[in-house]
Amino acid sequence: MTKLLPILGLFISFNVFAELRATGDLAVVIEREHSSALIFNTSQHKQLAKIEQLGDLSHASVVFSRDQRYAYVFGRDGGLSKIDMLQDKLVKRIVQAGNSIGGAISQDGKLIAVSNYTPGGVKVFSSDTLELVADIPADAGDGKLSKVIGLVDIPGQRFAFSLFDADQIWILDLKNPKKPDITKFKDIGKQPYDALTSSDGRYYIAGLFGDSGLAMLDLWHPELGIKRILPDYVKDDEKLPVYKMPHLEGWADTGDYLLAPAIGKHEVLVIDKRNWQLVKAIPVAGQPVFVMGRPDGRQAWVNFAFPDNNQLQIIDIKDLSLQKTLTPGKAVLHMEFAPRGEEVWVAIRDDNQVVVYDTDTLQEITRMPAQTPNGIFFSSRAHRIGL
């Protein structure tokens, strides 16, 4: 009995400090005006913590370490913050540029890359220490630095990104981080505004603001160069005004189809990945911002730019038609599916809420408070290419 007592004591004191926590079902919700991030348990719909003083999060995105313990938050002001989701604390925060748009984590999880507007380029950091590993200015050859957008991780310890002001796509190979190798594709089309990689990491596709269609690179055949998809889709003179640039990262990659927001047209484009032809243009409520596929590929959920940003539309992939229009609240900014898709979480900025829907019944499950939420990121992203 006397031998047991010290062990018992150890258990009790451990419990006093913290409950055991797993991090595979957590979410980070960004509060854009409060410079803070909320940590949620997504299985219990429960807020666990609030991490503050993360700088300007008016545009923000998050990636996760492969062990799902750490969240890396990319802020508008060039801030890169590393949050420990086991201990609810900010581990380290650096300000690595003047103006940033997003970031990505490498295939092996050891590198964090950030895409910057000012100074235009990509900086790469150690995910462990946030020390600078590589600095890649986006100098297109004329001495001017371009804004960098559409930065994603791709297989082979590489990153792909696009140069908004220089109409280029670059592939950055960091197998040897001390000797970064860059492959440049030029004249890809005017003003690439965002890009994505297909869920298998094979295709890198950039949306073009200043040109018709999309620029596509087959990473299995880089020697073929850039192919323009839907080159004749929207002519310049018939473009509707765009009050918010679409985000391509969440493109619905469902079976043979890729669903993408049209730009300057109130349509969702269905593209056949086997021949890159347009299958159908589905009319929707406004300029689509996110077109996100449910993980099983059966639905795509669409939100919209101002002034139609109070709506959400759901497309049934089975017959490529609109299934339902929801009006969850004022300023629907972002959505995120549960890893297997039974729920979707929706950020409603002006109502200060995160709304959870059952994706089968399309009924609301719950509403949770969050101040001006603009992004929801589930830790399950840790194990997906290109997010």
Binding site: S58, Y117, T118, F164, Y193, G210, Y243, F306, P307
Partner: protein, 93 residues
Amino acid sequence: MLFTSCAFANDPPSDRQEELRNLLKHDCGACHGLTLKGGLGPALLPENLQGKPDDFLVSTVLDGRKGTAMPSWRPFMNADEALWLIGVLRNPK
């Protein structure tokens, strides 16, 4: 003093001012940044607007700028409201 009062004669009513400020923060902010330090669009801080006349800025807001991502905001505000917003940008509180 006379000039000052004239400049403010066409100010929108206070509830409309609130709406316009919200539009500026969130919708202009989508490209120009919540703190207006710039993003895909240029910075709109007082020093960035210096030397640019009001009528040039009003027409940029109302009609957009061809060849750039700046759209026309005419469906959502009139010239007086655009001018008032530019005053807010020039003299932020």
